[in-house]
């Protein structure tokens, strides 16, 4: 019905190192692609001089981040470059004045960079040796040789070589008039020297301030420069990604050829609708490359797939670049420059809209106020701007120039351009706002001052003014501003997206069952939390986490969870599906909660999987819960019966009766006292007794002294117990009756979950706190306090019971046979024997009966947790003040059952206090002491009060005992 994504939860603030990488546009290290043995990174203070051509020197920091060398001036914007080490041909230590440690870097085409390392000598030496190692590594990899072949594909080479021929890589069209390079630009590039001579590692040289930058732009280069600058800049993106993986694009396409997905379908829909007015996209050639690029991206990143607006971006990029280049650029765009913009939840878009709104509020308070009063939502207009980088808002020529700036200077450009204020105060409603913006964008080519007497002023177009205003007036908006604003609003956006997803998931359910809407919401919350903890298996279907169902004829992706997630889900809802320990250690009282694992839960999972997907959808969960939470006594008994009737023939086999008993024991495992224990063993006895009695052909009886290894008299897969009998057996016991009447349904609890914490930190303090308050640290803290608690003897662990009906200890009632005396004669002995023997066999781990394998697994696991050697138990039993042989029998029985269950009511072990590999269980000691005392008291009080029936049971069991 709906897809549920927890992707937003996984967001992490980039680390400082990652920020540096982003700043220098260095791709994150991809496992397996880059190899693991990259050299060490380091940064050092340095002064950069740009060879002979440029006069200015800049102080800044030189970073070595193999395989790149990067530099940024101190103000982080005047000068910065990122050079792949493979382009460096020679490094020389310069013979300079004393005390100056300078390096001369010679690149493959002869450009010289002089770097003066101003740090202390040892630091500089270290830096040099790192640089040397990294360079050697690059040489060994043969990357030095690759450089030349790679740069040949770059337009800038052509430019630099002064050839005016069309660039050799497949640029589709040079139709835009201002794209043809003129000499002015070439001198410009030459003048800066680094920019275009360095294909693949352009130096993003910035003028000392943006104002200067823009005056230079407007004065000397006019509108041509940006267009040329744009393909250049993208070389950076290419060099960082593409050069590392030549041929990857082709491979990707080949591997996925013929594959279809929702993304490819969506792509097909939009291929003919991408810049349709551009002639390249009216022919099959253009359409095909567009298809390949978009599909390649959707294969590369199936989670994102394809989002409308990407087609427009790709189409625009393809005008200037080859397919492969466009592919890599698209990747950089979607993954780095516009993070989360095109994700299925579009959280990045929403977030940046929020940020944009807050920037409007901050920079243009008047307009913000006005919008508030007339109730205009800014994002109705601004959302498409951001999504398609203004391409379909403005005339294309202008949009491309915005794009150039965007590539050059980063995401802040979008915000700056978006902010330019123009007649906003006239706007009265959303529609007016849109119309105004449309008209304005349409007039970008017009003169900004048509009435001005000065021809120069008249020549200034609206667009030029727009850029001027954007970058001058809003220069306060820096990348840092935007990062911090994003940080600020992220949780708000995630919450709103998540609550929207919840609403629509709930709305899309076919049925709520008998639940009110609010409770369905709680089911969703539990599901969501479980999915956050254990994401559904990604490998299950081609698009990860999505399964397609074929109900109602059309394919709808639907989120389904696997067994592991289901366990977490159930532990949120059913009290018995979690192990809760209340730990007190003198410092704190806390509840440790763990997800229980038991066959019963797995059984439930498959029981609810009505459509046999091997996975459950939200709807399955709601229906499944609906099937148990509203049941009355009879319905619950039937439900429980059906749950264990694997082949749905209306009969439980003997195996299934045993499994059912185990399920009951599992549910009751933390109940106080032995009442439930007794109830289950009575149930087993009665069930077998009855089952045997009702068998059409009683099996030939085995002798009295049967051994554990002898098979039970009845085939384990033979129909054995029908619903009516099961019902009767259950109703014979008041504890089970009350369990099925109310407790079972009530053990499913739908309650509002506490808000989940988002992995979000705010500011420095938040960072520190979040680094302290990690889960591991919490665990360590808990362990530490536990240790202290233990030494001062105040450590206590109590298992929280799942049902908690009985808060006091109660002695299990003795079983009364349900059979009439005549029936008993014929059947009782053998069945009781076999039941007892199978259980006993299990506890001694000699797997004799077919049934005991499951029992044995339970037992062994419980033994693991209990870790009390059987001898200890006997010791304990001996230690109990004997009150006659009769009273020993319930004890023995309880002990046997206790071994079956994951609790140890009689395991007292003071001697193992210091044993630290299983603290929790041995910390039960104190509690068990009390338990024991109470039991003793009880036993003494009732010593003579045993009924005849008790005695009978005891005797029966006495006979059974030797088998153990």
């Amino acid at each position: 019905m709906a897809t549920i994504s927890t992707a937003l939860r996984h967001f992490k603030e980039p680390t400082k190192e990652q920020l540096t990488h982003i700043f220098f546009s260095i791709p994150p290290v991809v496992d397996g692609v880059q190899g693991t043995e990259e050299g060490e990174g380091m940064e050092i203070n340095a002064v950069l001089s740009l060879g002979e051509a440029v006069e200015d020197s800049y102080a800044g920091k030189l970073h070595i981040m193999p395989p790149y060398l990067a530099f940024a001036s101190l103000d982080r914007k005047s000068v910065r470059f990122t050079i792949p080490l493979s382009t460096i041909r020679r490094v020389e230590r310069l013979n300079a004045r004393a005390g100056i440690y300078a390096l001369s870097l010679l690149t493959w085409h002869g450009m010289k960079l002089v770097v003066q390392l101003t740090s202390l000598r040892p630091t500089a030496d270290l830096f040099c040796s790192l640089l040397k190692d990294a360079l050697k590594l690059e040489l060994q990899r043969g990357n030095m040789k690759n450089v030349k072949t790679f740069v040949k594909t770059c337009y800038s080479e052509v430019l630099v070589n002064g050839s005016s021929a069309a660039p050799q890589n497949e640029r589709e069209d040079g139709s835009l008039d201002d794209q043809i390079p003129n000499s002015e630009e070439i001198t410009y590039h030459g003048g800066l020297g680094l920019k275009f001579k360095f294909p693949g590692d352009p130096k993003k040289l910035r003028e000392t301030s943006k104002i200067k930058l823009w005056t230079t732009y407007l004065k000397t280069h006019g509108r041509n420069l940006t267009l040329l600058r744009y393909p250049q800049y993208t070389r950076l993106a290419l060099s960082t990604c593409g050069s590392a993986n030549p041929g990857y694009y082709e491979r990707l396409l080949q591997e996925n050829e013929g594959k279809t997905s929702t993304s490819t379908e969506d792509i097909e829909k939009d291929l003919h609708r991408s810049l349709p007015e551009y002639s390249g996209y009216q022919s099959e050639i253009g359409i095909n490359s567009l298809r390949r690029v978009l599909q390649a991206y959707s294969f590369k990143n199936p989670e994102l797939g394809y989002c409308q607006a990407m087609n427009i971006l790709a189409a625009a990029i393809l005008i200037y670049m080859s397919e492969e280049q466009a592919f890599w650029l698209l990747e950089v765009l979607c993954d780095t420059l516009l993070p989360g913009y095109y994700a299925p939840s579009m959280h990045g878009t929403m977030l940046d809209q929020r940020v944009f709104e807050s920037l409007v509020q901050r920079c243009l308070p008047m307009i913000h106020e006005h919008f508030q009063t007339v109730d205009v939502q800014l994002s109705v207009a601004s959302l498409p701007w951001f999504l398609s980088l203004f391409i379909n808002s403005m005339p294309m020529v202008f949009a491309f120039r915005i794009m150039d700036c965007f590539f050059c200077m980063g995401p802040k450009v979008l915000f700056q351009v978006g902010l330019m204020a123009r007649n906003y105060l006239q706007i009265q409603d959303d529609g007016g706002f849109l119309n105004l913006m449309r008209d304005y964008f349409a007039s970008l080519g017009d003169s900004a001052h048509p009435d001005s007497p000065d021809p120069r002023a008249r020549a200034i177009t609206n667009f030029q003014e727009l850029l001027l205003v954007s970058f001058r007036e809003f220069s306060v908006i820096s990348d840092e501003t935007i990062l911090s604003e994003r940080k600020r609003y992220r949780s708000e956006i995630i919450h709103s997206i998540e609550s929207f997803a919840k609403r629509s998931a709930v709305r899309n359910l076919r049925t709520f069952g008998r639940f009110p809407k609010e409770q369905v919401g709680f089911v969703y919350d539990a599901l969501y939390k479980a999915m956050c903890l254990v994401p559904p298996p990604p490998a299950a279907a081609p698009p990860p986490t999505l399964f397609t169902t074929v109900d109602s004829g059309n394919e709808k992706p639907e989120t389904r969870i696997g067994l592991k997630t289901f366990r977490h889900f159930l532990s949120e809802i059913a009290t018995w599906a979690r192990d809760e320990k209340i730990v007190t250690n003198g410092f704190q009282e806390r509840i440790d909660r763990e997800v229980a694992e038991h066959e019963f839960i797995d059984r439930l999972f498959f029981f609810w999987d009505g459509s046999c997907h091997g996975a459950l959808s939200f709807q399955d969960l709601v229906l499944g819960l609906d099937g148990v939470m509203f049941n009355d006594l009879m319905e619950n008994i039937e439900w429980f019966f059906n749950l264990h009737d694997k082949n749905k023939d209306g009969y439980l086999t003997k195996d299934e009766v045993l499994t059912l008993s185990e399920s009951l024991l599992f549910i009751f495992r933390f109940e106080v006292g032995d009442a439930y224990l007794g109830a289950v063993s009575r149930f087993m006895s009665n069930a077998f007794e009855y089952g045997d009695a009702l068998l059409p052909q009683p099996e030939p009886k085995t002798s009295e002294d049967e051994t554990p290894s002898s098979p039970p008299p009845i085939e384990s897969n033979q129909p054995y117990l029908n619903l009516a009998t099961f019902r009767m057996v259950v109703l014979a016991d008041e504890i089970l009756e009350s369990f099925f009447e109310t407790d079972l349904s009530a053990s499913f609890k739908l309650v509002p979950l506490p808000e989940m914490e988002l992995p979000i930190s705010s500011g420095l303090l938040g960072d520190i706190w979040s680094s302290i308050a990690t889960d591991t640290n919490k665990k360590m803290f808990n362990m530490f306090t536990d240790e202290i608690g233990k030494t001062i003897g105040r450590h206590q662990v109590i298992h929280k019971p799942s049902i908690g009906r009985y808060t006091k200890l109660e002695e299990p009632k003795a079983r009364e046979s349900l059979l009439t005396p005549s029936m008993r004669k014929s059947a009782s002995k053998s069945s009781l024997k076999s039941a007892a023997s199978s259980t006993a066999a299990a506890s001694t781990s000699s797997i004799a009966t077919p049934t005991s394998s499951t029992v044995a697994s339970t037992t062994s696991s419980s033994l693991l947790t209990v870790k009390v050697p059987s001898q200890e138990i006997t010791n304990k039993l001996d230690a109990v003040p004997e009150s006659g042989s009769l009273s020993a029998m319930p004890m023995m029985k309880a002990a046997r059952d206790a071994a079956l269950m994951e609790r140890t009511p009689f395991a007292i072990d003071n001697t193992q206090e210091g044993d630290d590999d299983d603290d929790d269980f041995f910390d039960d000691d104190e509690e068990d002491d009390q338990v024991l005392d109470e039991v003793d008291a009880f036993l003494e009080a009732h010593d003579s009060g045993l009924t005849e029936a008790d005695k009978k049971v005891a005797q029966d069991l006495l006979k059974a005992e030797p088998l153990k």
């Binding site: 829909k269 939009d270 810049l275 989002c307 409308q308 498409p384 007016g432 997206i497 709305r507």
Partner: protein, 257 residues
Amino acid sequence: MADQTAAPADKSVQVKLVLLGEAAVGKSSVVLRFVNNEFQPNKEPTIGAAFLTQKCRLEDRILRYEIWDTAGQERFHSLAPMYYRNAQAAVVVYDVTKASSLEKAKSWVKELQRQANPNIVIALAGNKVDLVQSASSSGDASDSVSEEDPDDATETGGEAPAPSGGPESLRQVPGEEAQAYATEAGLLFFETSAKTGEGIVEIFTEIAKKIPIEHILASARNNAGRPGLAGNRGEGSQPQNVNLDQNAAKTKDACNC
């Protein structure tokens, strides 16, 4: 219609209308046909939403439709509430040649009925009906023309398979089925073609008839003239919005709008 004292006949009533539906079913084309009476074969996908206005006369009143044309792709879904908040009318569009688009339309209707303005008037439109009409089988369709058909293959290129097996075989949603659903859900229903113009004006006319205009006027009065202001301004910026008369003339059973 009631008291003339409240609203003079020449003053327009603003109706906010939102278009919803799966991607590439022709939402934008429907609007474009209604507003500009034109058709573009390869319209760029709508990013976010587009906004257009059109006036429509109903009896003695002028309705000014403020049309929000939304993006269809699933992941834009979460943005839709921004556009349908306060909407008085919605046109949910599906593609008669694509069964899944009707399912999507149904889920939109469900969402609107639960989340949007409770009095919202919803119309269901099965678009691209020109693709399933041939010259011979256009018994019910009045002015769909046969010479349109050869273009279809190119125009809808990626969306629909080439109409090789006769136009009617392209149809995946029978009109009766959609009509039955619309009746059950209480929607207006039309089969339309943005390309030929069939049924387009009718949608907006029927919506206009069904809309509780008095209600809107009443709330507008309470809002102290805000719609009026916007309306005046809007008229200035939309010079072409009076051409509805052409439309009305062209379509036979178009009402007096």
